[in-house]
């Protein structure tokens, strides 16, 4: 205590240099050292005296901050003319300058053009003093109206209770804090809306896939859901939070599909809820563990799907003010660059970045291919540490190959030299090389096919799928969505039609597929109910064509029944012969995956769009 005080009391005296500088400023050139000392002591004392009086004014002004007006008033007490022009509220307008071995503080006096002042628009008039009464009642009556507790707002009631929590133990009902909390305003939902909300959320996470499909359909299309949007958003974010902890992969997938559906709905504006949705989506992309058995479960698909959602929301919502894309990119890059990041998260980060487009791949992923390759090599060829790591590395590898190949194909010009690739991309080089080559050929193919493969359907679509799908009792129109694959697949299975249905007029399907080469192959399929003959498929192969378009046509149960079958679905797969093998594998994969877990349908569909197989399913 004594030590402290001594510190405070050490009498500070202005340096004599200051005296000299001040003397010069008023025109006294040569000031003797003795005079300086005497002056500085005197001045220091007077300044302290003034500061002391100024404190008095501060106290009486009921303030904690000493202001320049306090100093002015203190000077007035001493019968000294106050310093004019120091009215600044924020700071004292001294400027500092040093030079010639001296340090000076000066007050900058600018020349002010009067016309400038006259011409500048007047500042806003400061608000006038006003009175506001806040009341603290001793007896807190429970006048709060009873409210329907909505999901995500269960905490509402506890805010009021907190005031009571801090009361003294004797329970006299003293509340600390004079300012009462205003209850948050809530949008009330009508009973119907509450019912709808309940149904939809239950269906979305329930076990019945059919109901879910319907519910998602509803979310994606129904107008007028905006009132429930905050609830949905909270539902999703809370759901992800809980299910990530419990490693419930299925539920996470359901929730992501909800996000997708919400984003698909053109009547909803998600901007206000991105703060809840984006963390949920990103969690599903990069979480270390999303399922109970990482070695078996296909959580990679979820990561891919969520990454695509993320990319889509970046595209839709990123603005210069919220900077979603750059923030997300930064987040992904940061955790990817971390050496300790696990393979699962690594995969998620790369997927997330890759989905953001070729530019991102070019600038962020390709430069790191060599490093990443070395890491993969260490796992693949090194001593087996854990199976999970190995699986992770494999997935990362295929992901990198998949995404980088097409970009590199555009970046580099052929020929592709394996050795060159190896030197440039390291371990992944050779594989990349082959992928790039594949991509090139395919790109060439696609370039020719583009816009040529047209499908003209002259038949009303809806009835077609309804009667044929048999998947569910769902009614109503169904736009192509995540469930389109299962439904279209079922169409392929031969199934007896309903004879009672009226015969549609003759339909003509024209499937045009162009194989390599200039000549085109036209297939004209004519379907007529009046004819008992089997559908005529007339293929006009081009003479120069080496690649035969592969047309699969499922004509139903039998030619005899065609007439009674009102609707028909055709799947036309046109592939170069060289790639036919890949089609085979693809088509073998698809049905099984659907049968194994139909809930993954959404993602499966997305995967089926991967390059290498083009499946068109006309409805």
């Amino acid at each position: 205590m004594a030590e402290e005080r001594r510190q405070k009391h050490c009498s500070v005296v202005l340096p004599t240099e200051s005296m000299k500088a001040m003397a010069e400023s008023v025109g006294v050139g040569q000031l003797q050292e003795d005079s300086c000392v005497a002056l500085s002591e005197e001045v220091s004392y007077r300044i302290k005296e003034i500061a002391q009086d100024a404190l008095k004014f501060m106290h009486h002004g009921k303030r904690r901050k000493l202001t320049t007006s306090d100093i002015d008033n203190a000077l007035k007490l001493k019968n000294v003319e106050p310093l004019y022009g120091f009215q600044s509220q924020e700071f004292i307008p001294f400027r500092f300058a040093s030079g010639g071995g001296r340090e000076l503080h000066f007050y900058e006096e600018k020349e002010v053009d009067l016309s400038d002042i006259i011409n500048t628009p007047l500042p806003r008039v400061p608000l006038d003093v006003s009175l506001k009464a806040t009341k603290e009642q001793q007896k807190v009556e429970s006048t709060e109206p009873l409210k329907v507790v909505k999901p995500g707002q269960e905490e509402e009631g506890t805010i009021q209770g907190k005031g009571q929590g801090t009361t003294t133990p004797d329970g006299k009902g003293k509340e600390k804090g004079l300012i009462r909390l205003k209850p948050r305003s809530t949008h009330e939902l009508s009973v119907e809306q509450q019912l709808y909300y309940k149904e939809i959320t239950e269906a979305c996470v329930g076990s019945c896939e059919a109901k879910r499909a319907e519910a998602l359909q509803s979310i994606a299309t129904d107008p007028g859901l905006y009132q429930m949007l905050p609830r949905f958003s909270t539902f999703i974010s809370e759901g992800v939070r809980v299910n990530v902890v419990q490693n419930n992969l299925a539920l996470l997938i359901y929730l992501m599909r909800m996000v997708k559906a919400l984003m698909d709905n053109p009547t909803l504006y998600l901007e206000k809820y991105l703060h809840e949705l984006i963390p949920a989506v990103v969690t599903c992309i990069v979480s270390k563990q999303l399922c109970l058995r990482p070695d078996v479960d296909n959580h990679w698909a979820l990561r891919d799907f969520a990454a695509r959602l993320m990319a889509q929301s970046c595209k839709t919502f990123s603005t210069t003010t919220n900077n979603i894309q750059s923030r997300i990119t930064k987040t992904f890059t940061k955790s990817w660059l971390d050496d300790k990041t696990q393979w699962t998260t690594r995969y998620g980060c790369i997927a997330g970045l890759a989905e953001l487009g070729p530019d991102v791949i070019k600038t962020l992923i390709i430069p790191r291919l060599a490093i990443e390759g070395a890491r993969i090599k260490a796992v693949m060829e090194g001593p087996v540490i854990s199976n999970i790591d190995k699986i992770g590395a494999e997935h990362v590898q295929s992901l990198l190959l998949k995404h980088c190949a097409s970009v590199i194909a555009k970046l580099r010009s052929p020929p592709d030299n394996v050795e060159q690739y190896r030197t440039e991309y390291g371990y992944l080089g050779p594989m990349l090389c082959s992928h790039v080559m594949k991509a090139r050929t395919q790109a060439a193919l696609q370039a020719q096919q583009v816009n040529r493969t047209t499908l003209t359907i002259t038949q009303p679509r809806p009835t077609l799928s309804v009667s044929q799908s048999g998947l569910s009792g769902s009614s109503g129109p169904r736009t192509p969505s995540i469930i389109k694959v299962p439904s279209s697949l079922t169409l392929m299975s031969p199934r007896p039609g309903t004879p009672s249905q009226p015969s549609p007029p003759a339909t003509k399907y024209i499937v045009m597929a162009t194989s390599a080469g200039a000549a085109s192959t036209q297939q004209v399929i004519t379907l007529s109910s009046s004819q008992s003959a089997s559908p005529v498929t007339s293929t006009v192969p081009s003479a120069t064509s080496t690649l035969q378009p592969l047309v699969k046509l499922e004509p139903g149960s039998g030619p005899g029944l065609t007439a009674s079958r009102p609707l028909q679905k055709y799947i036309v797969v046109s592939l170069p012969s060289s790639a036919s093998s890949s089609l085979e594998t693809k088509s073998s994969v698809l049905p099984t995956s659907i049968s194994s877990s139909s809930l993954d349908g959404g993602m499966k569909l997305e995967r089926s769009e991967s390059p290498g197989a083009s499946t068109q399913s006309p409805h």
Binding site: K8, S11, S130, K132, T134, Q137, G177
Partner: protein
């Protein structure tokens, strides 16, 4: 020797007491005791055969004698000193005439009797000061424990005087060394003063410093038991330590009492003021703290019934009223002053109506207690830009007034009734003066608004007070004036000039008509609204008067000061009747209990002290606030004390318990040596925190709802 010194000080205080007996006539002379306004003495160019210094002394003494009308002594002294006849007379009389008009110019070298008195006559060897002091220190550290605390009190005044003596005699470096060495030993509550001292290193500095001048002229008062005093005296005489002995003789007043030496905590409770404790005899005067008899008011019949039903709910005002109604000759409170001790204004019809309203409201009053706390309503001033400096409520809580740093005074109506001005003179002529609602008709409906602004001051408004009848408003400002505003026309009626320095506080008497003001010039003034000059000047504080309060019976005024003392003054005689010491910082708020018995005070140290006015005793200490307490208020029944502070809290204290718990016996009553319990936490009933609004005013409505006010400070 002591007696002589004592006599000197007695003389010294005389002018103030003298000045009040015959108020206006003597004002001018009294004024000369206030800073910056001493009457000039004219030429100092005498050619007498005395040294200039002696001559100054002579002149000062002559002037002092003259001031006190000791004409013969003046003559004798002048003849003996061989001073010319006219050396003093012409200008002195002149200034006496001019003095009543205002302040006379201050001559730099004018001899003032105080300066002479405060001179340090002796000049010891400056190098020995440290030795003397440490010798005494060693001695006190080795005495018996029971005496040590008492004798330690000597340290601070000795330290200050020795330091000043060194400075006075131009031993600058020794003074610095002395300060460095021993300033750390002093009690922490003297820190502020030590900071001032540390800056003072030259004799010239002492000249302009009024506070120091007061410190030197008035004696530092110590209370020491006889045994301890003997011990000290013997030691100093043995050691031939004349330097210290002289200081004790000349500059200290040791109040010796018989009995047990006091403990450290007892001493700490009472010390802390600029000039030591109060002398015992200073608090011996009888104070009539009882309430005045309420005037007899004929209540309408239906109201009377109501009254009878609610006998329980009307504790305070009921009794005197019943007295007046039941037996008119019944004796009043023995402690109350006689009804006409101070002439009070006659009750007007409107006052009677208000009294009736008051009684009606009082029947609906909630009885507060530790288990029944008041509701608090906070009035927040928004957009005040740190400029709200004073707030007041009317007694019926219908209006709020705010004083602002931008010199404005604003009044708000907090009831649906809007504020209206009286019509212009021309319009008033058109009014039918015989009509029943003439009072309503004179108001101009077009001017109705929720708030009114009044311009007139030229500096921050630090004090504000409504008159009890709500027709007037007082405001005191940095510009040295107190202004009286009409709340009918919302214009300024009078500017009372007298304080030439900032006026920190002002308050109307509870009966109206009189008001008190106090400010930087260290005097409090009592005014009547129809006199432009003060009726009384209360002088004696050693530093700024920071707050002023009227006693509920209007016969006394309490003032709090930056010298960390509270003084209670008798309005009739102008004498100081109580001095309360114990605060360790400038006092910023005072409150009398409704029964007039107790006084509460709050200071920058964040402590509230409770005082018994009748006995002049400290009754309790309420610790809890962490910053300056700007507002104190007793509930209408006096059960609860509310305190509002800069630390953004309102706290409620169970003062009944504090008064009941204190054990007082004859000894403590006689000596004033109270042993305080540290029970603040038990007494604290509630703490109410604002977000960021310092509480600068508190008010209990007639029904005991607590109103608080402050400016939001983002």
């Amino acid at each position: 020797d002591t007696s002589l010194a004592k006599q000197k000080t007695d003389i010294k205080t005389e002018p103030s007491t003298d000045g009040f007996g015959n108020n206006n006539a003597n004002d001018g002379r009294v004024l000369s005791a206030s800073p910056g306004s001493g009457s000039s003495t004219g030429s100092n160019k005498q050619t007498a055969a005395v040294t200039p210094e002696d001559q100054q002394t002579l002149l000062a003494v002559l002037q002092f004698l003259k001031k006190n009308k000791l004409i013969e002594s003046v003559e004798i002294l002048r003849r003996e000193a061989g001073l010319p006849e006219n050396s003093l007379d012409p200008k002195a009389t002149e200034s006496a005439g001019a003095g009543s008009g205002g302040a006379a110019a201050v001559a730099e070298d004018q001899p003032d009797v105080r300066v002479v008195l405060s001179a340090y006559s002796q000049q010891g060897d400056p190098t020995l000061y440290e030795v003397y002091y440490s010798d005494l220190k060693k001695f006190i550290e080795t005495v018996l424990d029971c005496h040590r605390a008492e004798l330690s009190q000597v340290f601070y005044p000795l330290f200050v005087h020795m330091y000043l003596e060194l400075v006075y005699n131009n031993h600058e470096s020794e003074a610095k060394a002395f300060f460095e060495k021993f300033s750390g030993d002093q009690e922490c509550y003297y820190e502020e003063d030590l900071r001032v001292l540390s800056g003072l290193t030259k004799k010239e500095h002492m000249r302009g410093n009024e506070t120091l001048l007061d410190f030197r002229t008035s004696k530092f008062v110590l209370r020491i038991s006889r045994d301890s005093y003997q011990l000290l005296k013997r030691h100093l005489q043995e050691r031939q330590n004349n330097q210290i002995w002289n200081i004790i003789q000349e500059h200290l007043y040791i109040d010796i009492f018989d009995g047990m030496p006091r403990s450290k905590s007892q001493i700490d409770a009472m010390s802390g003021s600029l000039a030591g404790e109060a002398k015992r005899e200073a608090n011996k005067t009888k104070v009539y703290y009882g309430l005045l008899k309420e005037p007899e008011i004929e209540l309408p019949l239906d109201d009377e019934d109501e009254e009878a039903e609610n006998e329980e709910g009307k504790p305070k005002k009921k009794k005197p009223k019943k007295d007046s109604m039941g037996s008119k000759s019944k004796k009043q409170d023995p402690n109350a002053p006689s009804q006409n001790r101070i002439p009070l204004p006659e009750l007007k019809d409107s006052d009677k109506l208000d009294k009736i309203m008051y009684m009606k409201e009082a029947t609906k009053r909630i009885r507060l207690g530790s288990d029944n706390l008041p509701s608090v309503c906070f009035y927040t001033f928004l957009n005040a830009y740190q400029g709200l400096t004073a707030v007041d409520f009317t007694d019926d809580s219908s209006l709020i007034a705010g004083g602002f740093a931008d010199s404005t005074v604003r009044v708000w109506s907090v009831t649906p009734k809007k504020l209206r001005k009286v019509k212009s003179a021309a319009d008033l002529n058109l009014i039918d003066k015989e009509s029943d609602d003439v009072l309503e008709r004179i108001m101009d409906e077009k001017t109705a608004s929720e708030s009114k602004i009044m311009y007139g001051h030229s500096g921050p408004v630090y004090g504000i007070s409504f008159s009890p009848d709500r027709n007037y408003l007082l405001s005191s400002s940095e510009d040295g004036t107190v202004r009286l505003w009409s709340l009918l026309t919302f214009t300024c009626l009078v500017a009372y000039k007298g304080h030439n320095y900032p006026v920190w506080d002002t308050q109307f008497s509870p009966y109206g008509y009189y008001f008190v003001s106090g400010g930087h010039d260290r005097v409090a003034r009592l005014w009547a609204t129809d006199h432009y000059q003060p009726l009384r000047i209360f002088s004696g504080h050693l530093a700024d008067i920071t707050c002023t309060r009227f006693h509920p019976n209007s016969n006394y005024v309490a003032t709090g000061s930056s010298d960390r003392t509270i003084r209670v003054w008798d309005v009739l005689s102008g004498n100081c009747v109580r001095i309360f010491t114990g605060h360790k910082g400038p006092i910023h708020s005072l409150a009398f209990s409704p029964n007039g018995k107790f006084l509460a005070s709050g200071a920058t140290d964040g402590r509230v002290l409770l005082w018994d006015i009748g006995h002049g005793l400290m009754m309790g200490e309420l610790k809890g606030h962490t910053d300056t307490i700007y507002s104190l208020r007793f509930s209408r029944d006096g059960e609860i004390l509310a305190s509002g502070s800069m630390d953004n809290t309102v706290r409620l204290w169970d003062v009944m318990k504090a008064f009941d718990d204190l054990e007082t016996d004859d000894f403590t009553a006689a000596t004033g040596h109270i042993h305080l319990q540290d029970n603040s936490q038990e007494l604290l009933l509630g703490t109410y925190t604002t977000k960021s609004t310092p509480v600068i005013h508190l008010h209990f409505t007639r029904r005991n709802l607590l109103l608080a006010a402050g400016a939001f400070n983002p």
